[in-house]
């Protein structure tokens, strides 16, 4: 679509990019130490933390990948999100308090830092840093894919690579300049846009499809979709949605981009309202997945929209062709927000893994951590751009793999290890290594086409490799804990675990 046909959309996109950069400039003056760069000076309130956590958690994966995945497999894709009914409370009880209290007694800036404090093991912390680095590059790659898709559609760019380059340049500018200070305040700005955009788009999607009854009737009667599309398990094998539920419901306990925000909270007592703020805002944002996931197939079934060549185009095509220009502008800005708020978390986490966590695991410290942090941010983003370029499947699937890598590697060592003193450093290391390695090997075997002689993973149809690696990681943690001798904990860490 020619650029000048949608001047308000273009203006909204440019305004959004400009505001994000302005926040970067503003944050640059407030980023004086590595503590500011990595954890925003530990001075945030619960609403800011909750909205920033939501914005980091809900990414291009939800706003672009979700409607795309629903277009392909039907409403069974919702199993990815239905766990948001309990995940905020689960995070609160299992991790938020302990992580925040750890940051109260020690200089804990990252998840590998927390693992180092809890287990006194550089091996466990180093393994966690490797998992964070791998997952960050994959997750950031998924965001860049989504960024290219949305910017190319919104600005009418033929060249997808140019769209990625433009978005990446803005992202790099504010995240290298302002670190987590910029990350948090852009997250809050972006989170507010996401909430507004999600409600607006949901209402308009229902209207465009003729109301919920008409939408479901069109889908049920269409040959391309049929009633199966609306059924909870849809056309996928039953195990796929069940694996989605397990991976996203439990894997959330290993997501460093969410856990990282708890270190930044000023007063641990504010955690009282975390489930309400985080869970409530996630439920509102889910409306965009549901709205577009139902409206786009209905419009295709009604003949008002051509069948999609690439399911990931569902969100941008609907917004640009079926919504008033003002709402389209707001929604495109909201989608860009979702993407970039997650992306900035991962540039920061990946850089922290390279500059802080891995050297620490090797018994070294990096001088001029702030400078090297900024340089590493660029390096991680470049690696993610290469991953995005080489990847050729749905955004949601790359997101699922990365989410699964974090979950399988980190959830057991953190969620069980911070609540049960008996868990040993060897058990944590074995669990982190198992989760990372099993996930990578199964995913590689499932996707690779370079070596025809290698077998496919021996998994039943519909089972996600990430579900197997997550279950295996928990099982290994429990088994090795019982096999190894109990260890003593540092007095302050013990106090945190008993609080």
């Amino acid at each position: 679509m020619p650029l000048l046909d949608r001047p308000l959309v273009v203006a909204a996109v440019l305004a959004y990019l400009a505001i994000s950069m302005a926040i970067g400039v503003w944050s640059l003056r407030r980023t004086k130490s590595s503590r500011d760069f990595w954890i925003a000076g530990q001075g945030l309130g619960v609403v800011v933390t909750g909205i920033a956590t939501m914005a980091a958690a809900f990414s291009g994966f939800v706003f672009v990948g979700g409607p795309g995945l629903t277009y392909r497999i039907g409403l069974s894709s919702l199993f990815i999100n239905v766990s948001i009914g309990f995940t905020a409370a689960l995070l609160g009880w299992a991790l938020a308090k302990r992580l925040r209290l750890l940051a109260e007694v020690r200089d804990v800036y990252t998840v590998p830092d927390a693992i180092l404090c809890r287990y006194r093991s550089r091996t466990a912390s180093g393994a966690a840093a490797v998992a964070v680095l791998i997952g960050s590059v994959g997750y950031l790659g998924a965001q860049l894919l989504a960024l290219g898709t949305v910017l190319a559609a919104a600005l009418g760019l033929e060249n997808w690579g140019l769209a990625v380059l433009l978005g990446t340049a803005v992202l790099l500018f504010y995240s290298t300049a302002g670190g987590m200070v910029a990350g948090i305040w852009t997250d809050v700005f972006q989170g507010a846009l996401m909430l507004l955009g999600a409600v607006g788009v949901f209402l308009y999607a229902m209207k465009a499809g003729g109301g919920l009854s008409e939408i479901t009737r069109s889908i049920s009667q269409s040959e391309s979709f049929g009633r199966q599309f609306l059924e909870p398990f849809g056309s996928t094998p039953v195990l796929t949605p069940l694996c989605f539920f397990f991976v996203f419901g439990i894997g959330v306990l290993g997501q460093p981009h969410m856990l990282h925000k708890f270190f930044m909270l000023k007063d641990p007592r504010r955690l009282k309202w975390l489930p309400l703020v985080l869970g409530g805002s996630q439920i509102v944002c889910l409306l965009i997945w549901l709205g577009l996931g139902l409206a786009v197939p209905a419009l295709v079934a009604q003949g008002k929209m051509p069948p999609l060549q690439n399911p990931d185009d569902a969100a941008p095509l609907f917004l640009l062709n079926f919504t008033p220009e003002l709402l389209a502008g707001l929604a495109v800005a909201a989608i860009l927000s979702a993407i970039m708020s997650t992306a900035d978390s991962f540039t920061n986490l990946g850089a922290a893994a390279l500059v802080r966590d891995l050297p620490k695991a090797l018994g070294r410290t990096v001088e001029k951590e702030l400078l090297w942090g900024r340089i590493a941010t660029v390096g991680v983003t470049m690696a993610a751009a290469v991953t995005a370029y080489l990847y050729d499947d749905l955004i949601a699937l790359l997101g699922t793999f990365s989410f699964g890598t974090f979950g399988a590697a980190l959830a057991p060592a953190l969620a069980v290890g911070l609540n049960w003193k008996r868990v040993t450093a060897k058990a944590a290391t074995a669990s982190i290594v198992t989760g990372t390695a099993v996930n990578l090997v199964l995913e590689f075997l499932g996707r690779q086409t370079y070596f025809p002689s290698l077998p496919k993973p021996p998994l039943p149809p519909g089972v996600l490799p990430t579900a197997v690696s997550l279950a295996a990681s928990f099982a290994v943690l429990l088994l090795v804990t019982w096999w190894t001798r109990e260890e003593t904990l540092d007095e302050d860490v013990e106090a945190v675990m008993e609080a």
């Binding site: 009854s213 909870p232 195990l239 069940l242 489930p275 969620a415 069980v416 609540n419 579900a467 279950a471």
Partner: protein, 145 residues
């Protein structure tokens, strides 16, 4: 002291999830998916091996999850149409998301100050931090001497 029933549930959940994903059994996979969050919430929320006022909301959430997943697996083709959507999809959207959210968010906030993080806990933690800093400063001074 750890909450032993939560640990037992955790072992059960890990076994069910492994069996579910490796053998391809939906019932085991669903059981693992439901028990895991309940076990981990109980593990994190317990104090001195007890769940106190949180027992009821956590058990209730477990029962809701168990009931919805049993219904989803038992209903053929998502069940009959109830309004615009199949019954199973309605359960997914209007029970599985809002009921645990309301029950757990309320329980979390209502018991936070009296059960989950008391003022004396925070005072103890801050005392630990002060003592640790003092020890570190003493060590530095000794090295300096």
């Amino acid at each position: 002291m750890v909450h032993r029933p939560a640990l037992a549930l955790l072992v059960l959940a890990a076994l069910a999830s492994l069996l579910g994903s490796c053998l391809g059994s939906p019932w085991f996979a669903a059981l693992g998916g439901v028990i895991f969050p309940v076990a981990l919430m109980a593990l994190g929320a317990a104090r001195g091996g007890k769940l106190g006022p949180l027992r009821l909301p956590i058990v209730l959430t477990g029962l809701v999850l168990l009931g919805v997943f049993a219904a989803l697996l038992a209903l053929p083709e998502g069940g009959p149409d109830t309004g615009p959507l199949p019954l199973g999809t309605l359960l997914l959207l209007f029970v599985l998301i809002p009921v645990p959210f309301l029950v757990l968010s309320w329980a979390y906030a209502a018991t936070f100050d009296s059960w989950f993080l008391r003022d004396e806990d925070l005072d103890g933690i801050r005392r630990q931090r002060r003592q640790r800093r003092q020890r570190r400063q003493r060590r530095w001074r000794e090295r300096g001497d």
